[in-house]
């Protein structure tokens, strides 16, 4: 047991010189706010930070998201500002999408690949000015950005641990913004990005629609995050605005078919064998690849894959019963043999829908949209391990 004096001394040490504790999980700049909202006291760890998993119940949160408006803490995301004369050339080199074509205020979600075409992460890129860009992603990539910047005249600033992020989504978001005195920015709910000063606080608003649900993300300095949260909460009081946890955000993500790193695909640098990670085409970003664009990371490999066809493709599944665990294999009868033709990588029970949904990959040679595949679900029922056979339908295959 540590005595009070040493505990205090430890507290007073600057953050960077504190002894590293591998088990230590950091609070986000919004922790004080989210801990009040997190009535269920159900937390989860995200990129080394704690965020609410559930604030109330999944049913109530999904209802807020799909019928009213909801707010969530996005602070653990990676956040990078890129500026300089070569910024557009640099990003064009780094990312799959045609970046130089974006106008000021445009936003795009694009894969960031290794030279073998395998995805490191998905990055949301917003053009804030002629030479100023804002990048966010679920993961940390400063080292990779730094390496990629060799030979380009760009300035990279990593805001990942000093800035906070708030997701605002739902059909009533425009009303929330207007009530919070951000009426000028309601267009961003549908598209675009902008950096503004909101009553003395610099905030960056970036469109972030998830599936059918309109929304945006708001980024600001960590020290001012609580004020931004309060202003939005106060403004949205009459619009049914509620804080939601990560589970609700994940449900929405899976339903909208957006793959996520660490859940649907292994970011390439983390894969022990490179062929276990996924290419940009397999993840459904074929439409972003522009042959006319010059060299970008993964160009040759992706063009080759486009010509030869991919083995796997991202697919959306609808399950007959409860959602199986992530990582469940999907089978198909071929003659007498039972062959594995897919895997469900992330699943959700989707309380507001009739059937459970899942994202995953299927072998393109064997599966067509509308096919019904077999799932073997293992679960514990009344303290017993049981196996039951169910079926799932392939709703959609990307590309």
């Amino acid at each position: 047991m540590m005595d009070k004096a040493s505990a205090k001394a430890l507290e007073e040490l600057p953050v960077s010189t504190r002894p590293a504790d591998p088990l230590r999980v950091l609070p986000t700049p919004l922790h004080m706010k989210t801990s009040i909202a997190c009535q269920a006291n159900d937390w989860t760890s995200w990129a080394g930070y704690t965020v609410p998993n559930l604030c109330t119940s999944l049913e109530r949160e999904m209802s807020a998201l799909t019928r009213h408006a909801a707010m969530a803490d996005l602070s653990p995301m990676g956040k990078y500002a890129v500026s300089g004369d070569d910024a557009a050339r640099f990003l064009d080199h780094l990312l799959v999408a045609n970046i130089a074509d974006l106008n000021t205020g445009d936003v795009i979600l694009t894969p960031m690949c290794q030279s073998n075409g395998r995805v490191i992460n998905l990055v949301s890129v917003a053009r804030l000015g002629a030479t100023s860009w804002w990048l966010t992603c679920d993961g940390r990539h400063m080292n990779w950005l730094y390496q990629a910047a060799v030979g380009f005249d760009v300035t990279l600033v990593d805001y990942s641990d000093v800035h906070a992020g708030i997701m605002l989504a739902g059909p009533e978001v425009s009303r929330v913004l207007t009530a919070a005195d951000l009426g000028d920015c309601t267009d961003i709910v549908l598209r675009g990005a902008r950096r503004i000063s909101w009553d003395g606080i610099d905030i960056t608003l970036v469109h972030r629609g998830v599936g059918q649900v309109p929304g945006l993300s708001i980024w600001c300095a960590g020290s001012e995050a609580a004020i931004v949260w309060n202003r939005l909460m106060d403004g949205g009081a009459d619009c049914g605005l509620e804080a939601v946890g990560r589970m609700a955000c994940e449900t929405l993500r899976i339903e909208s078919g957006e793959p996520a790193p660490g859940r649907d695909f292994i970011p390439d640098p983390e894969a022990l064998r490179s062929d276990r990670s996924r290419t940009a085409i397999e993840l459904g970003f074929d439409h972003l690849i522009d042959e006319g664009k010059g060299v970008f990371n993964g160009r040759a490999a992706l063009l080759e894959e486009r010509a030869n066809g991919s083995v796997l493709r991202l697919a959306m599944f609808s399950f007959q019963g409860a959602a199986p665990q992530a990582g469940t294999q999907l089978h198909k009868k071929q003659g007498r043999k039972d062959i594995i033709v897919g895997v469900a990588t992330s699943t959700t029970s989707a309380p507001h829908r009739a059937s459970a949904r899942g994202l995953g990959f299927v072998v393109t040679d064997h599966v067509r949209p509308g096919d019904v595949l077999d799932v073997t679900i293992e679960e514990t029922r009344e303290l017993l391990q049981v196996t039951r056979k169910e079926s799932c339908m392939v709703v959609e295959i990307s590309g």
Partner: protein, 589 residues
């Protein structure tokens, strides 16, 4: 020389056609950037195979670091590289360099490890003779030497075999990471090891150990005599930013011993007329095969259209088109400056950016009014040899230390040659040239080179004065070429003789950098043939030969649609003006 003039005139007539390009047509099959020895070897091989070759050289004179020039008064000498230690015999034979005028002034030069008391150790290709000169220092070392000599030569033979080949490409490890490519990598490595079969089990183990160990460790295990160890270690560290106890320097020793001259191994030769004579012979061999060499034509940019190389743009703005471009300038300059960062993916650009290229070797050329007296040799009996000042391993290590921190040692290690002893053509007034390589001279001197040149020269002369009495009184002229000068005058980036540090991480399939090998550039139609590629520096000519073989193997796609014609850009007048500057190899003579 009239036959040569005839050839030149004929080639000159042939090339009166505009060497720019009409839309859709390239005037050349290959453009070689840089008329250094590797560029010219590559050009000559390609021309021999019937390709229309143009060599463009930035300087007024061909040769790069391999040239003869005025070093003081009327006296001429090899300004940069000064000895031939293994210009590949196959290259000489294939290109007929002797036919084109390459002659040796001396072909089996011994190496003299200078001893303060005059008990020099004299190395030659005959190990028993060497043993005789070791005897006064240590009888047991003298007994051990022949075995050591034999073993190092045997190992050097394996290195020599690798040098002549294009190393495998480790795609799995450095490019794709895919499983099937990793298995192919394993096979490529296995193939390299196939050469091991000539070694006994014990020698195999020793060879692998040598590959990664330091020359200091190797020599400490083998001998007791400090002078012997110092002289042998000198070869291990020559041209490298490494001390005798740095890993990988044992490999340096093996690489220096691979050289063969006229059947002698390890061979050291002095070309008649200085190192420029090698370039002259190579230039003649290119021109005789209807190739062209243009000097004062600096390439500003390698032109890329639709993901393939289409030619080069010169600093003058002139564009020359060809479906293949091969660069004899160093890989970092070629890829980062001439090709451009935007044509490389991140992993490759990082690897190229990571090439260490700061030379630590200076050249001091002195003109002497007469030969100095060398301790231990009778006046007038000084042999034509390569003299080494490196009395012990500790001495070398001490000389190395300051260079790491931007300083130079007051006691440098040096290699000295008196080319005028064999080659009277270099001096008209019976003067002597003293050609000195000074190792561990930093590129960035902490206090700047401007005010410390004299101190540097003085410390070199002082150290040499210990072995050559009154040396200072005989100096009547000369020049110091520190690494910064080598960069400026010879277009050697970082003043690095090897176009990139030949450390263990940049050898064979990892040379010039992991992910770029087999002489292939990152863009179709672009090739590399400089010392920055396998097998590395020294006047070997093998990078040029291997690159040419690689290029001849690849299918050449003709330039069907070259959109930008030269005339459209510059008009007829400028084409003619550019033609007036053309020199067909004559500048090199």
């Amino acid at each position: 020389m009239s036959f040569l003039k005839n050839i030149l005139a004929r080639v000159g007539l042939d090339t009166r056609a505009p060497h720019g390009s009409e839309a859709g047509h390239a005037s050349f099959d290959v453009i070689v950037i840089g008329a250094g020895h590797n560029g010219l070897v590559c050009a000559s091989y390609l021309a021999k195979a019937g390709r229309r070759v143009l060599v463009v050289e930035a300087s007024e004179q061909a040769g790069g670091a391999c040239q003869t020039g005025v070093i003081g008064g009327d006296t001429r000498g090899s300004r940069c590289a000064h000895l031939l230690r293994g210009l590949d015999p196959e290259v000489i034979k294939n290109l007929g360099l002797h036919r084109y005028g390459l002659k040796y002034a001396a072909r089996t030069m011994p190496t003299v490890a200078l001893d303060y008391d005059g008990a020099h150790i004299i190395f030659s290709h005959n190990p028993w003779q060497v043993a005789e000169s070791i005897k006064p220092h240590s009888a047991s070392d003298a007994e051990r030497y022949p075995e050591f000599h034999k073993r190092i030569l045997q190992f050097a033979e394996i290195i020599n075999h690798w040098n002549g080949q294009t190393p495998g490409r480790l795609r799995g490890l450095f490019e794709t990471g895919a499983f099937e490519d990793l298995s192919a990598d394993a096979k490529a490595l296995q193939q390299m090891g196939a050469r091991f079969d000539v070694l006994t089990a014990e020698d195999k183990a020793e060879f692998l150990r040598l590959f990664v160990s330091s020359v200091g460790d190797l020599l400490d295990r083998s001998f007791d005599t400090q002078l012997l160890k110092g002289a042998l270690a000198f070869d291990g560290v020559l041209g490298r930013a490494a001390g005798p106890f740095s890993p990988g320097t044992a490999l340096g020793l093996l690489q220096q011993w691979t050289g063969e001259v006229a059947g002698t191994k390890p061979g050291i030769a002095l070309p008649e007329g200085g190192m420029g004579a090698v370039i002259d012979a190579l230039t003649r061999s290119v021109v005789a095969r209807r190739g062209q060499v243009r000097c004062s034509a600096r390439v500003a940019q390698i032109l890329v259209e639709n993901g393939r190389t289409v030619g080069v743009e010169l600093a003058s703005g002139e564009r020359i088109f060809a479906p293949q471009v091969v660069s004899g300038t160093d890989p970092k300059t070629t890829l980062m400056d001439l090709l451009g960062r935007e044509h490389m993916e991140t992993r490759l650009a990082t690897a190229v950016d990571g090439i260490t290229q700061e030379g630590v070797t200076a050249k001091l050329n002195l003109v002497l009014d007469r030969m100095p007296k060398i301790r231990g040799f009778d006046p007038g009996q000084v042999p034509s040899a390569r003299f080494i000042v490196a009395p012990s391993l500790d001495y070398i290590e001490q000389a190395f230390h300051p260079s790491k921190y931007g300083g130079f040692s007051p006691d440098p290690i040096m290699e000295v040659v008196f080319p005028t002893l064999n080659d009277a053509s270099l001096s008209d007034h019976n003067e002597h040239v003293m050609s000195i390589i000074v190792q561990y001279t930093p590129f960035h001197l902490k206090e700047g080179w401007d005010n410390h040149r004299e101190d540097f020269i003085q410390s070199c002369v002082d150290v040499l004065g210990n072995y050559m009495s009154g040396l200072g009184d005989h100096i009547i002229g000369g020049e110091l070429l520190a690494p910064v000068d080598l960069e400026q005058q010879f277009n050697l980036r970082g003043g690095h003789w090897h176009h990139g540090e030949p450390d263990l991480a940049h050898q064979a399939m990892m040379r010039p950098a992991p992910g770029i090998s087999q002489y292939l550039g990152p863009v179709k139609g672009l090739y590399l043939c400089s010392a920055g590629c396998h097998p590395g520096g020294g006047i070997l000519g093998l990078a040029g030969k291997n690159a040419a073989e690689r290029m001849l193997k690849d299918r050449v796609e003709p330039l069907r649609t070259v959109r930008s014609a030269h005339k459209a850009h510059h008009g007829d007048d400028e084409v003619e003006a550019a033609e007036a500057d053309v020199s067909y190899g004559e500048a090199a003579q």
